[in-house]
């Protein structure tokens, strides 16, 4: 974990409202693994005291990439960032996704920008598996080719039916779970809204599979100091307590989460 000042190498439209930000942060890039995130200080955001967290979409010796969608004051202000701008990152933060067990096939479930860390995970996965990508409309279904080009089975759903099957992502998951092809030893990974994570966790647990969920909580410090980002969990001894999404997560096994 370090504070790194870097420059924007590229900032471009990725798809629909989503943007891709390429940063020459090689220190963080070399250390970052799928599931980790950076805490980004948005330039020229007057009166802001907090950074904003973004998952690593790519990380390597040249730097990092993130995908984001404007949803509020901070991410709106990010739209005006241009190539050459300097900004400060803290990262890589949090723990990455655990590696998929040797005899298991990975099953990924993504909603919205949640596909970004999962695409990075697929890049490092020992073997291809299946990914369910859900979104409100076609624009929200990102990175399909990242997976297809690596031999993954991609199942798309949109709520308005503009791409793939119509409905929520759970509809596609449930149909697949009914089919014989779902049999076997699986390891689940999911990133998206809480409702999606909860649904994935329930389905994985019902079959005795691990489901690794990447949680999104509003953050303060990003390093474990302020206790803003906490999530209720069940401990091994049956008691309940808080964990810090930024430091202890953002990835947790579904059965530990108290929704």
């Amino acid at each position: 974990m370090k504070v790194e000042t870097c420059n924007i190498s590229r900032h471009e439209t990725f798809q629909g409202p989503y943007r891709r930000l390429i940063l020459d942060a090689s220190g963080i890039g070399c250390a970052g693994v799928p599931g980790q995130f950076v805490h980004l200080r948005i330039p020229r955001l007057d009166g802001a005291v907090l950074r904003r967290p973004f998952s690593l979409y790519r990380a390597g010796k040249d730097g990092i990439e993130v995908l984001y969608k404007p949803v509020g004051r901070g991410t709106d202000a990010m739209l005006s960032m241009v190539q050459g701008d300097s900004l400060s990152l803290i990262g890589p933060l949090g723990n990455g996704f655990p590696v998929c067990g040797k005899k298991r096939t990975p099953v990924l479930v993504a909603g919205g920008y949640g596909v970004a860390p999962l695409s990075f995970l697929a890049l490092t996965s020992a073997r291809p598996g299946i990914i369910f990508i859900g979104g409100a409309r076609a624009d929200d279904v990102l990175c399909v080719d990242d997976f297809k080009s690596r031999g993954w089975d991609v199942r798309v759903t949109t709520e308005d039916g503009s791409l793939g099957a119509k409905g929520r992502v759970t509809v596609a998951i449930d149909a697949w779970l009914q089919s014989p092809e779902s049999r076997g030893d699986r390891e689940w990974y999911a990133c998206g809204p809480d409702g999606l994570l909860k649904a994935v966790g329930e389905r994985a647990a019902a079959n005795g599979w691990n489901a690794w969920l990447s949680l999104d909580k509003h953050m303060g410090c990003g390093v474990g100091a302020c206790l803003a980002c906490v999530q209720r969990v069940r401990n091994a001894d049956g008691t309940e307590g808080w964990v810090r999404v930024c430091r202890d997560g953002p990835v947790f096994e579904a059965r530990s989460i108290v929704w």
Partner: protein
């Protein structure tokens, strides 16, 4: 430094050391309670030994769950938090964090709170004589817990009794932390001094609320919280100035420091040390920048010791 070079006053770095009620600090820049965890959280990013002192998150006699989430929301010029003093309790702190902190030379100040006079007394007693603790900051000003907290800090009689009780329970340097939410800060500063406090610190966050107009609900689960950050800085400067003139014991100034400028204001107003809070989240190296900026300012002004700056307000 080589002896010969220190003969020329112009090239000698100004002395930054301060003594806060018996706590000797290398420089006057501390980090504020609740914004720096217990030390390990920021240890990769900041050299803890470069801090004047490290004030840990508030602890009580037993573990405490704090408030439900959301616990924090950003507002223009600051943030409102209602963490609710979640913590491992005094024994958890001693077992899980103190061994780590003992590996550093930085003075560790433990921020304590309680729901009753007895709880305050017990936690102070428990810390007394424990190696590795430089002092106690007595939080009588937290806006985020229903019992205790702010009630002790806004009523003079309660402030008096809790400071007196804790004073009797510990030999460690004692620093009551005052609430800004009072009509006359001088009354509370004077009570702290009279009851044997070694220093005072101020300000804690200011009671505040944020409403989501779409849902018409409070944004924070606790409904109300405490405002911190640049928005409270001028309020804090005024209160520090008043408090510093009311007592002889050292004053630690905090509230909205983001760089050397705001810290210098506190020192000029009469604070002997300062603490960086919310700005740690924006830039974890703020305390180090502040320290360097103060040193540069002293050099520019031809001052050789931070003492020349403290309370130097021209009126």
């Amino acid at each position: 430094m080589v002896k010969s070079s220190s003969k020329t006053p112009d090239t000698t770095a100004p002395s930054m050391a301060v003594d806060i009620g018996g706590i000797r600090m290398r420089n006057p820049v501390m980090v504020a309670s609740g914004t720096f965890g217990y030390g390990p959280e920021y240890a990769d990013l900041v050299d803890l030994n470069a801090l004047g002192a490290l004030v840990v998150k508030g602890i009580r006699i037993a573990p405490w769950d704090g408030n439900p989430t959301p616990r924090m929301v950003e507002v223009p010029g600051g943030l409102v938090n209602a963490i609710g003093l979640q913590g491992p309790g005094v024994d958890g702190f001693i077992a899980d964090y103190l061994p780590f902190l003992r590996g550093y030379e930085v003075p560790v100040i433990v921020n304590i709170w309680g729901r009753s006079l007895d709880e305050y007394r017990e936690v102070a007693q428990r810390l007394d004589g424990v190696p590795g603790i430089a002092g106690i900051e007595l939080n009588i000003s937290c806006p985020n817990v229903k019992e205790g907290g702010l009630a002790f800090g806004t009523q003079p009689d309660m402030a008096r009794s809790v400071i007196a009780a804790v004073r009797r329970a510990t030999r460690l340097p004692l620093i009551p932390k005052l609430s800004p939410n009072v009509s006359d800060i001088r009354v509370f500063a004077a009570i702290a001094e009279a009851e044997g406090a070694d220093a005072i610190s101020l300000i804690n966050s200011y009671p505040a609320m944020v409403i989501d107009v779409r849902t018409r609900r409070p944004v924070l689960a606790n409904r109300v919280g405490g405002l911190s950050g640049p928005a409270i800085h001028p309020i804090a400067v005024k209160l520090v100035w008043e408090a510093a003139r009311a007592v002889k014991i050292p004053v630690v100034g905090m509230g909205g420091i983001t760089g050397p400028q705001e810290a210098l204001e506190f020192l000029i107003a009469g604070a002997r040390a300062v603490a960086v809070g919310t700005a740690n989240f924006t830039d974890p190296t703020t305390a180090l920048r502040v320290r360097d900026g103060i040193r540069d300012y002293l050099a520019e002004q031809g001052m050789h010791d931070i003492g020349e700056l403290i309370g130097s307000l021209a009126t």
